[in-house]
């Protein structure tokens, strides 16, 4: 039978535990951990950014406008995911629609990244060329990898949603965990985009 | 070994003014640590003696003590005071021992290689290897660099060590206060022969230093002796010149291995591995891998006679 998504076991009056769902807490800690990982990759980029011959000048190779457009797709996908969550909480059928849009937007972002990589490599700006190549591809590459993992998570969530109310159903909590991860990936991109693409406008 | 009469290899052997400061600080810190340890050990011994459960114990629980605010404050405040004192002394000694270099140029440049040391005296245009000299009573500025991996330059009785990091030169000051022969060692794991990458430091009077450095700057006079010339020919032909420089030998200009210009004056071969005698040199030249396996100088596969011959040439390079 369909169980309300927010049903919980009754809480003992003397319970002093943190009143956060354990899955959400776990995802939050995971995000904190990954933040440190990205922080260090960003620091490595920044450390080598001002080097003569690489770094600052090489970043000018990047097409800020094109990547900016694809970034908007990624940011929009966070918004559509939020819409999907709201729809799911209301048990509306629009949830599936917004999930599809989210996945599509995320895929567009990845496609954009892939095209950008292809273009750079054609211009012989490879990961092994210099410090800029090393730090740029590592940082954006790991971000892209995290986006792909996010797309997989979103697809799994979507699949569970399509099974309907009489089979296993994704709970509010489960969807929230996936959406936390996706928003995190978005926030990391804000940081990476600012540091890698926008910095030169500040110098 | 000729280096067997070296001064005592110990951080407490004070032979530089820098190390005097460091040893004084070290003794002070060690005294504090010893006292703290004695207190802890003493308390534990007293506890064991006083509070062992007796055989005819009645099984009751002793008085439960949750804490004692005054005691807790004391045993936080006193250590805090101790580390504050140590912190202040640390700053003072650091600034005395390693003051800023400013725009001063180094007197000695040390370059760490896998697994030997290059020494340059930029003010005299001298390059040598594995053994260096410093004048007594002068505060020499030493720059430490690396040609390959991370090494660390440590003459034990001089006190501090300083890492040799490629792309990141470092500095230290050495102000010797005692004449003598002092041994050191590479102190950052750098591969196969990290353990036998030794440092041989000589501190001599300023006059003797001038004599030495002038001799280093001079081109060695090659004797006309047939044996020596034969050895030189072999040296040039047997690929030695691919790696080694000898000033005055126009074919020998490579900077890959140690500069051998005044090899005969050095006390050891191979960065402290062998005493510098003709027999040892011949064996080394023939197959250094026997003494220091894994180094970059290969088994030269020379005949005994050839090796001996080259050794004769090298021993003539005073």
């Amino acid at each position: 039978m369909h169980k309300p998504a927010s049903a919980k076991a009754p809480v003992h009056p003397l319970d002093t535990n943190l009143k956060i769902d354990r899955n959400i807490l776990g995802m939050a800690l995971f995000i904190a951990s990954e933040s440190i990982f990205f922080l260090l990759l960003i620091l490595a980029y920044v450390n080598f950014h001002n080097q003569y011959g690489t770094g600052a000048m090489a970043a000018w190779h990047l097409d800020v406008f094109k990547t900016g457009m694809f970034s908007i797709a990624l940011f929009a996908s966070s918004f559509t995911l939020w819409l999907a969550e709201k729809a799911h909480a209301k048990q509306s059928g629009l949830a599936i629609f917004w999930m599809l849009v989210t996945i599509a937007l995320g895929t567009i972002f990845i496609a954009g990244q892939a095209m950008e990589y292809a273009g750079l490599i054609r211009e012989n700006l490879t990961i092994s060329r210099d410090m800029f190549g090393s730090t740029f591809f590592t940082l954006t590459g790991f971000h892209g990898f995290h986006v792909i993992v996010g797309l997989i998570l979103l697809s799994i969530a979507l699949f569970i949603m399509t099974r309907g109310k009489h089979q296993h159903e994704i709970t509010d909590v489960g969807l929230m965990c996936v959406s936390m991860y996706w928003h995190f990936v978005d926030v990391v991109w804000i940081a990476v985009f600012s540091v890698v693409y926008l910095w030169r406008f500040v110098q | 070994m000729e280096i067997s009469n070296a001064d005592l290899t110990s951080i407490f052997n004070v032979v530089t003014s820098q190390n005097k400061w460091m040893v004084d600080l070290h003794m002070f810190t060690a005294a504090i640590c010893t006292i703290i340890f004695m207190v802890v050990a003493g308390l534990l011994v007293a506890i064991i003696g006083k509070f062992k459960t007796s055989e005819n114990d009645d099984g009751s629980e002793p008085k439960q003590v949750r804490g004692n605010v005054r005691l807790e404050i004391i045993w936080t405040a006193i250590p805090l005071l101790i580390v504050t004192v140590l912190g202040v002394l640390t700053a003072i000694v650091m600034l005395v021992v390693n003051p800023a270099v400013g725009s001063k140029k180094p007197d000695l440049i040390v370059v760490g290689h896998q697994w030997w040391w290059e020494y340059q005296y930029p003010k005299y245009g001298v390059t040598t290897a594995n053994e260096f000299y410093l004048p007594l009573g002068q505060n020499s500025l030493v720059e430490v660099r690396s040609a390959d991996v991370v090494h660390s330059f440590w003459v034990i009785a001089f006190g501090q060590k300083m890492d040799a990091i490629p792309g990141h030169p470092t500095n230290m000051w050495i102000h010797p206060t005692k004449k003598g022969l002092f041994l050191g060692t590479c102190s950052e794991y750098c591969g196969a022969q990290h353990g036998l990458m030794r440092i041989i430091a000589n501190v001599v009077t300023p006059e003797d230093f001038e004599t030495w450095i002038k001799a280093q700057a001079a081109i060695p006079v090659v004797s006309e002796d047939a044996k020596v010339l034969k050895g030189k020919e072999l040296f040039n032909a047997a690929t030695c010149v691919q790696c080694h420089r000898v000033a005055g030998n126009p074919d020998a200009n490579a900077l890959i291995g140690p500069d051998l210009t005044h090899l005969a004056q050095r006390k050891t071969i191979g960065a402290g591995v062998l005493e510098n005698t003709p027999e040892n040199l011949a064996k080394w030249v023939q197959n250094p891998q026997t003494f220091k396996p894994g180094i970059n100088m290969p088994n030269m596969r020379l005949t005994d006679a050839d090796a001996h011959s080259i050794a004769v040439y090298l021993e003539s390079l005073k």
């Binding site: 003992h12 951990s33 990759l41 990961i127 | 951080i11 002793p62 991996v149 006190g159």
Partner: protein, 556 residues
């Protein structure tokens, strides 16, 4: 496994080998039960301890005589690399995780960890990583750049076989498992405590594990970032640490030690927790100053992220950058020292019982103090300039890691073995093991302080003749190393002998006071049938005497 309210009443089981849920190897391979996983972690760690100890013994054999030739320099460099890597990542970490995942649910009155499958994931990923690293010997040679693998030496240009790749990849994988377990522990402790168990009432062991888990979650990703970079340098030809191409070997040092320093606190905190349980029980007193103990641990957790450059004092970073870290390193000594005073104050006025567990805890206090004080010495930068990278620092870290961590966790094993297996360990064998451990350990490592003062550098495959005292001290150290390794074998023998012949223990053989002693020995699958409401840090004291669990004055 039983579930819900419909389980049949079970027969009481007083030996872990008789537990029905544990029958058959499949139950172990597929288990998500925290008790089984805890046992697996500890047994695996002890297995690697034997391997690591034998590697260490080989090191000591090679160094027994000057210009020794027991192994070649290439083999030696791989051996000491594997010794360090094994001991830290395949012994230390799994040992503490084993304690943590086994004991935490029991101590907080929970049925299992928050994420049982993630728990299993953490364990199997560790095993996979360890096997992968040892596999490197069959694939062309092991890693040989030391356990902290400084570039440029660890780059392809200097170490060209695949050993370093295996090293980086294996630690990357194992690190992911560690973070998973860290997250699992934090969520468990924060969301699954028994009614009435506020965070102020958790056993100190659990508090230490909570802090430890935060250290893991925030420091392992730094290691992974560094490992990614060295792997990319070696495989994809990036230039992160290649100075000639604009990279920076110092960057590795910063990133590695940003992980590396919290890592050593990760290793020691659980041992502090174990000793904070053992000492009160065998002094028959509540822990002195529990609040300050907990607060000092929080201080250490935060400070430990701010001291990493003290591993880099000789890299010429300039006065200000170095001095800041001298200050933080000196400061971190204060909360650490507080713990020693607390343990001593707990024992003071008590009724001491010198069980083998207690003996190990007392030896820990002395040895950890020695290691800690030599550490304070290193915080005084000019002393570090003299002694870093010499055998003095080898002495220091073995005193805190073996004399500290290993002694305290072995104390914990003697203490909790009855709970895990249902049987007592042999006190006779334990006494032989304890004394040989103390003599072997101190004999091997104390003289290394002197060797460092006399100028012997570390990580050397041999040393020349004629150095003052080096031959004699190394010979002595190596002889004692045999005793040390022997004591480890004796410990394992005791574990095995006691498994079959130990006295049946019962639920609470030590008359201890934390919740795990309420459970059966070994605990039933659900751990508890009923958990009492918690009113203090010592629930069983409250059950016995009605009140006073937190040390309000009580004369029984």
């Amino acid at each position: 496994m039983t579930q819900g309210a419909l389980h049949e009443p079970h027969k009481p089981v007083n030996w872990v080998a008789d537990v029905p849920e544990y029958k058959g190897i499949l139950s172990w391979l597929t288990s998500v039960d925290h008790k089984q996983l805890g046992i697996l972690y500890v047994m695996s760690a002890l297995g690697f301890l034997v391997v690591g100890a034998l590697l260490g013994l080989t090191i000591r054999l090679q160094l027994m005589f000057p210009m020794g030739h027991v192994v070649s320099q290439d083999s030696y460099n791989q051996i000491f690399t594997m010794h360090g890597t094994t001991m830290v990542f395949f012994v230390g970490m799994p040992l503490l995780f084993g304690f943590a995942v086994y004991l935490t649910p029991l101590m907080i009155g929970a049925r299992d960890m928050a994420f049982p499958r993630l728990n299993a994931f953490g364990y199997w990923v560790y095993i996979f990583g360890a096997i992968m690293l040892y596999f490197s010997f069959l694939a062309g040679g092991g890693p040989a750049a030391g356990w902290f693998a400084y570039p440029p030496l660890s780059e392809k240009g200097y170490l060209f076989n695949s050993g370093q790749n295996y090293w980086a990849l294996s630690l990357f994988v194992t690190g992911i498992g560690s973070v998973a377990t860290g997250i699992n522990l934090i969520v468990t402790i924060l969301t699954m405590r028994a009614p009435g168990m506020t965070l102020k009432r958790v056993p100190l062991f659990v508090w230490m594990i909570l802090m430890d888990a935060f250290l893991v979650v925030f420091s392992l990703p730094a290691l992974n970032a560094a490992l990614v970079m060295i792997l990319f340098d070696r495989i994809l030809n990036t230039k992160f640490f290649i100075a000639t191409m604009g990279g920076s070997p110092l960057l590795w040092q910063h990133f590695f030690w940003f992980f590396g320093h919290p890592e050593v606190y990760i290793l020691i905190l659980p041992g502090w927790g174990a000793v904070s349980e053992v000492i009160p029980v065998f002094s028959r007193k509540v822990i002195f100053g529990a609040g300050v103990m907990a607060a000092s641990t929080v201080a250490i957790t935060f400070l430990s992220f701010g001291v990493w450059v003290h591993h880099m004092f000789t890299t010429g970073l300039g006065f200000a950058p170095l001095y800041i870290f001298a200050v933080t390193s000196l400061l971190i000594a204060v909360p650490t020292g507080i713990k020693v005073w607390t343990w001593l104050a707990t024992m003071w006025g008590g009724k001491l019982r010198f069980t083998v567990a207690m003996l190990h805890a007392m030896a820990f206090i002395i040895q950890f103090t020695i290691g800690g004080l030599s550490g304070v010495g290193f915080a005084v930068i000019p002393i570090d300039w003299q002694l870093t990278d010499s055998y003095f620092v080898v002495a220091h870290f073995h005193y805190v890691l073996v004399g500290g961590m290993l002694f305290s966790l072995i104390s914990g094993i003697y203490y909790w073995y009855p709970k895990v297996t249902g049987r007592m360990m042999s006190e006779t064998l334990g006494l032989w093991q304890f004394w040989s451990f103390v003599i072997g350990f101190n004999g091997t490592f104390f003289v290394m302080h002197i060797l460092g003062i006399l100028g012997m550098p570390r990580r050397v495959w041999t040393y020349p003749l004629g150095m003052p005292g080096w031959a004699e001290l190394n010979f002595f150290s190596s002889c004692c190393a045999f005793i040390l390794v022997g004591s480890i074998f004796l410990f394992i023998y005791n574990l095995v002998w006691s498994f079959y012949h130990g006295k049946i223990a019962g639920a609470n053989p030590w008359d201890a006071w934390t919740l795990e002693w309420l459970a059966d020995s070994p605990p039933i699958a659900e751990n508890f049938e009923r958990v009492p409401v918690i009113r203090s840090r010592r629930p069983l004291w409250d059950l016995k005497y009605g009140s006073g669990g937190d040390g309000e004055d009580h004369h029984a």
